[in-house]
């Protein structure tokens, strides 16, 4: 059981909750490796993926997680939903409530959308990414991957590189690392830093080369090429030269250190293809962990309630 009904901000969880999620995810990882990847645990529960912003990997990850727990998963995607017809979020919430859904995972363009759902629905709400605010399950799977590689999170030095100001991934990962005793260091050009970076409680630097020798993890954030207002730096090549992860920078890091990326990667921009495919890259482990961690979150949120008929 978790100490919270919803997982909207990573701070909704206590450190005990996080530890429980990571431990439970280990069991689910084993299930994902055997022939029949199915458990009867959430049989008869209804899980809705309300993805009002594009996503393939996160949505598929949640979908697989629900199916592997025998829950009934429903997908609402932006273009195929009534929001195109102008239906408000509140009305969508009411409709889903009327269908007695147990858990809703929402990804939305605007921060705060998950809170609105939580206020209007009885269902458990999981934030699949709201605007530039938070993406808690991403942080959890990142913690899982780090813990799996290093055995512990305590004292790990994790450099987070890139568009911190606009990253919901960083919005969850930085507090998550601090909660678990790790040390986040935020790295990027001043134009990509939030106005007051010190509120993150982390060391800030605009020189990646200065901190590389002390990092256990280099976490590369995606440069969002699809942003309408243009790039806040002269060119992609300049960004890549100053902040991109490449072989030279990998070699400057301690021998047991690793590189991570939430995906999808812009090969050649924030991370070189060579590094992305090297054995120091945890990218595929992160994806693997994603399903197990999301199964753990669903199980811990939904497991302790009456589901009517016992299996």
């Amino acid at each position: 059981m978790l100490s919270t009904r919803h997982v909207i901000d990573i701070e909704d969880l206590s450190t005990d909750d996080i530890r429980l999620i990571l431990d439970t995810a280990e069991s689910f990882k084993e299930v994902n490796e055997r022939r029949i990847k199915k458990l009867p645990t959430l049989r008869g529960r209804t899980v809705v993926n309300l993805f009002l912003e594009p996503s393939t990997r996160t949505r598929t990850s949640f979908e697989l997680a629900a199916k592997r727990l025998s829950a009934d998963g429903i997908n609402f995607t932006a273009s195929a939903s009534a929001t195109v017809k102008g239906e408000s979020l509140a009305d969508t919430a009411a409709t889903l409530s009327a269908m007695a859904c147990d858990l809703v995972i929402i990804r939305h363009k605007y921060a705060g959308a998950p809170r609105i759902l939580a206020e209007k629905m009885d269902a458990h709400i999981v934030n699949g990414g709201d605007g530039m605010h938070q993406h808690p399950t991403q942080a959890l799977l990142d913690l899982f991957s780090m813990r799996e590689r290093f055995g512990t999170l305590e004292g790990l030095k994790v450099g987070i590189v890139g568009d911190i100001a606009h990253s919901r991934v960083a919005g969850s990962l930085i507090p998550a690392l601090r909660m678990m005793g790790a040390e986040p260091i935020i790295i990027g050009p001043p134009t990509l830093m939030p106005a007051s970076p010190e509120v993150h409680g982390a060391r800030v630097t605009s020189s990646i080369d200065e901190v590389l020798p002390e990092l256990d993890v280099a976490y590369m954030l995606r440069i969002q090429m699809e942003r309408a207002e243009g790039m806040p730096f002269p060119s992609l090549r300049e960004y890549s030269r100053l902040f991109g992860m490449n072989k030279r920078r990998l070699d400057a890091m301690p021998p047991k250190s690793i590189v991570m990326h939430p995906g999808p990667m812009n090969r050649g921009v924030e991370i070189s293809a060579e590094v992305a495919d090297s054995d120091r890259s945890l990218v595929l482990d992160q994806v693997n962990a994603g399903v197990a961690v999301r199964m753990a979150v669903m199980y811990l949120l939904l497991g302790g309630e009456s589901s009517g008929v016992a299996s």
Partner: protein
């Protein structure tokens, strides 16, 4: 609710003899160790499975595959009793076509074994599933029975029957426990 030990029905030696006998019974019924594999239900069933595997290997002169099974996700009482302590299952052999021997410490209502059978079927199709338990305490709620039993221990529903193993509990024994304030009641 505090429990205290009312009686010790097996000590370390008695357990050891029972396990030896069960090992021989398994080999007799399955005509040797050629196709068998042991699967212990965590946690104490797994410890018992290891003990049985050692005895069988000693008798037959060759090792027998052993796995552990965590049935937390297959329980029928998740609605009322979410058990946060989950362990990993580990079945390092192919279940297909094997004579599987499920091993658990105490057989009571039978629901754990029902869950264990559901779980093992998700790993493949065994040729047969047999059940070895150290203690059968009666009070079955499902049509489940053990093929190999260490000791039958009749018990009252309000009592608990616990098996303790030295590596995890500091002693080898089978004990009947009752609630602390049941002083005069029988």
């Amino acid at each position: 609710m505090n429990y205290r030990t009312k009686a010790t029905v097996m000590d370390g030696d008695a357990i050891n003899r029972a396990v030896t006998r069960i090992a021989h019974e398994i080999l007799e019924a399955n005509r040797g160790a050629g196709n068998i594999a042991l699967v212990g239900v965590v946690t104490r069933g797994a410890a018992l499975a290891e003990m049985l595997a050692e005895k069988i290997a000693h008798i037959e002169g060759k090792p027998v595959p052993v796995g552990t099974l965590d049935i937390s996700f297959y329980r029928d009482d998740l609605a009322t009793r979410l058990n946060p302590e989950v362990h990993r299952s580990d079945i390092p052999f192919d279940v297909e076509g094997r004579d599987l021997i499920l091993v658990d410490d105490v057989l009571y209502t039978g629901r754990t074994i029902r869950s264990a059978m559901d779980a093992i079927m998700d790993y493949g199709r065994p040729c047969s599933v047999q059940l070895a338990v150290l203690v059968d305490r009666g009070h079955r709620e499902l049509p489940i029975r053990a093929d190999y039993v260490g000791k039958n221990v009749p018990s009252a529903r309000r009592e608990r029957v616990k098996v303790y193993f030295a590596p995890m509990d500091g002693r080898d024994s089978v004990e009947i426990l009752e609630l602390e304030d049941q002083e005069g009641a029988n």
